[in-house]
């Protein structure tokens, strides 16, 4: 039977993994994702989940253990945060290139220096080009749901790719929310057992990952690219099935709020979207036509869905929560691909970016109001900067602080 619970994002991820019947789990402690492994270790110790719980000696090993298990034919689960995500960097491409669909839970965290526990998307955004599926949840419920959906997407034989199943550190990972755990039988119906086409099995010997010559490289790269071509339709299929089976209302790629008649929009991923919606409610009362478009997948970057959503407005502000020092916008990451996605359109909005929520700072309602002012001015003047560092530039000072 489905069950109503009041869980943090960490517990939600752990129960998502449990209901996905993961078989090999590799752990290593780092805040804030650690809570996921603490919960899972209890489930294994109590006998509620039949899995091998392997204490990795670091994040590099965690990912190695997970993709090794995946190669041998077991559903594998791991996770990390912050510098831990960075430490495992070598292992991401072998997992994706080996087409080994293990899952890594991310409760994001700022990178050093200085040591900072706070949420920031920079850690795993640094791995966005390694060939993994990647997206953020905004609530414990969505964490649980994504955990299950990602396995089905990643293990689909048209895809076969590992997944970063991300949630904002603390904002989601440590704040409990009301949510529903689904019935195990129903989850089993939705998510079939992992069935890799070429496991490491002495009865059917195969070689994984032999050395190639440079002129053989592009053919292998193109296969990985083709997987990402296929993936959008698989995601649509899976999200539709999940919505139907469990009564959810996820749109596959872009979650819209008051976008139909909006003139300006906040475009962002993760939990700050919830604050953004509160800000929109307030701004709408004052007559500002503003909406929120929340990105559910960073990889694949859903160009078509973004074009459809953002072409409705005149100005878009990407709320970055990650850094790309020295990049084109001198700010974050999302703006670059967003602008690039909108570029082919005849009528495209002004796109600017807001550097907010860095180091785990809360993006306040006042900050969203200040962003809305910049966007409204941009509609009037037809101009905006590439980026605004919230509270450090005069256009975006939070005067209420």
């Amino acid at each position: 039977m489905a069950k109503e619970v009041f869980y943090s994002g960490c517990a939600a991820a752990a129960y998502g993994a449990k209901d996905a019947r993961v078989e090999v789990i590799s752990s290593y402690p780092i805040r804030p994702y650690t809570g996921i492994m603490m919960e899972l270790s209890k489930l294994v110790a109590n006998g509620e989940l039949d899995a091998e719980f392997v204490h990795g000696e670091g994040e590099h090993a965690q990912v190695s253990i997970a993709y090794g298990a995946s190669a041998a034919g077991a559903r594998a689960y791991t996770g990390s945060s912050g510098v831990g995500v960075a430490y495992a960097m070598e292992c991401y491409s072998p997992a994706a290139g080996g087409r080994l669909p293990c899952q890594m839970a991310i409760a994001d965290r700022a990178l050093d220096p200085p040591g900072d526990f706070g949420s920031e998307h920079t850690d795993v955004m640094g791995a966005r080009d390694q060939g993994w599926i990647m997206g953020w949840a905004e609530s414990p419920q969505e964490v649980y749901d994504n955990t299950i959906m990602y396995y089905r997407i990643g293990e689909d034989h048209r895809v076969q790719l590992p997944q970063f199943c991300c949630q904002d550190g603390y904002f989601v990972s440590h704040i409990p929310g009301r949510m529903k755990l689904e019935d195990q039988k129903a989850v089993d119906e939705f998510l079939p057992p992992y069935n890799p086409p070429h496991p490491l099995d002495p009865n059917r010997p195969v070689n994984h990952g032999p050395q190639i010559f440079p002129d053989q490289g592009s053919a292998i790269n193109v296969q990985r690219a083709v997987a990402f071509d296929e993936i959008e339709s698989v995601i649509e299929e899976v999200v539709k099935d999940y919505n139907k089976q469990f009564g959810r209302k996820y749109s596959p790629f872009v979650d819209e709020y008051m976008m139909d008649d909006a003139e300006i929009a906040f475009f962002l991923q993760g939990a700050h979207a919830r604050t953004a919606r509160f800000a929109v409610n307030h701004l709408r009362k004052q007559g500002v036509k503003v909406g929120v478009a929340r990105l559910r997948f960073m990889r694949p970057f859903p160009t078509k869905a973004i074009q459809e959503s953002l072409s409705k407005v005149k100005a878009v502000g990407t709320v970055e929560t990650s850094t790309s020092y020295g990049g084109q916008s001198r700010g974050g990451n999302i703006i670059h691909e967003t602008r690039s996605a909108l570029y082919p359109l005849d009528k495209r909005p002004i796109v600017t970016s807001f550097m907010a929520g860095l180091g785990g700072e809360i993006v306040t309602l006042n900050e969203f109001y200040a962003m809305a002012k910049v966007l409204s001015d941009a509609v009037k003047t037809g101009k905006a900067n590439d980026s605004y560092w919230m509270n450090f530039e005069k256009e975006v000072l939070d005067t209420h602080k």
């Binding site: 078989e23 090993a61 190695s64 993709y67 002495p202 994984h208 190639i212």
Partner: protein
Amino acid sequence: MAKEVKTQNLEMAKSLRQVTQDEWYVPGHRTCQGCGPALVYKLVSKATGPNSIFLGPTGCMYVANTSYLCAPFAYPWMHTQITNGGAVASGIEAAYQVLIRKGKYKGELPNIVVMAGDGGAIDIGLQAMSAMMYRGHDALFIMYDNESYANTGIQTSPATPYGANTTFTPPGKAVPEGKVLFPKDAPQLVIGAHPAVHYVATASVAYPVDLINKVRKALNYKGPAFLHLHAPCPKGWLFDAAKTVEIAKLAIQTGMWVNYEWEKGEYTYQHTPKEYKPVKEYMKHQYRFNHLTDAHLAKMQAFIDAKLKAPGKPIAVPVQGPREQA
């Protein structure tokens, strides 16, 4: 971690005649003439048989072996990063434990064998190797030791002997001996700190039956085991490619290499010569030592003499380190 999922008892061979003529490391690779590590691979494969999964961390035995579409492995094989052989093996072993427990895999636990070079075992791969040993995964970690990062063009590793000329330790006016450090003692790294390990051994391509039997003994133990295998490298050590086995034998005759087993705390020694030849007899055949003076050779001899007092154990009186005054 080790559970009763392995009942195999691989037989010990008395002579090469009793060893199968079947090959699971088949022609098709591009290793150098006289390659010691390739000979190791051939012998280890004969020892394990086909119910095996081999893992190849980056190194010579990855790069020279596995040209795409003509890899020489007749069993399942997977590349790992040079860093993570022990970790990927752990994941595969954990997967098989759970799949067998759940009835999803019907056979016996396969032999899971990591074939790491010296760098992949005790340098950049040390952390993952040690963790696999510590957690007690039922897998065999083999360090085929060609005493350098050979694949990248013979650079020094922690297994490279004192005095060797490598492309990162060229002898010169300021550093006349080339490599100034003495090597890490690989088996001791395992023996000294891993309660789950019951079997560690060294072997050499000079004694193939002994090598095969040690692989089988290691696999018959439940839980992790470690083998340190001497694999001379004509290209890296600069000797005649026809003399790989001869060089390996000289290493044993001079005490530069000692074959031994460590089994649940007990040491036994194999192929110990009645009288050790001077190390010079081994070194003079290799151009990598050609630049050394008598003083350097004496330093090497002192190191080996100290080691031979109790091979496989910590040296009672450490030899002089590179930053100490003579």
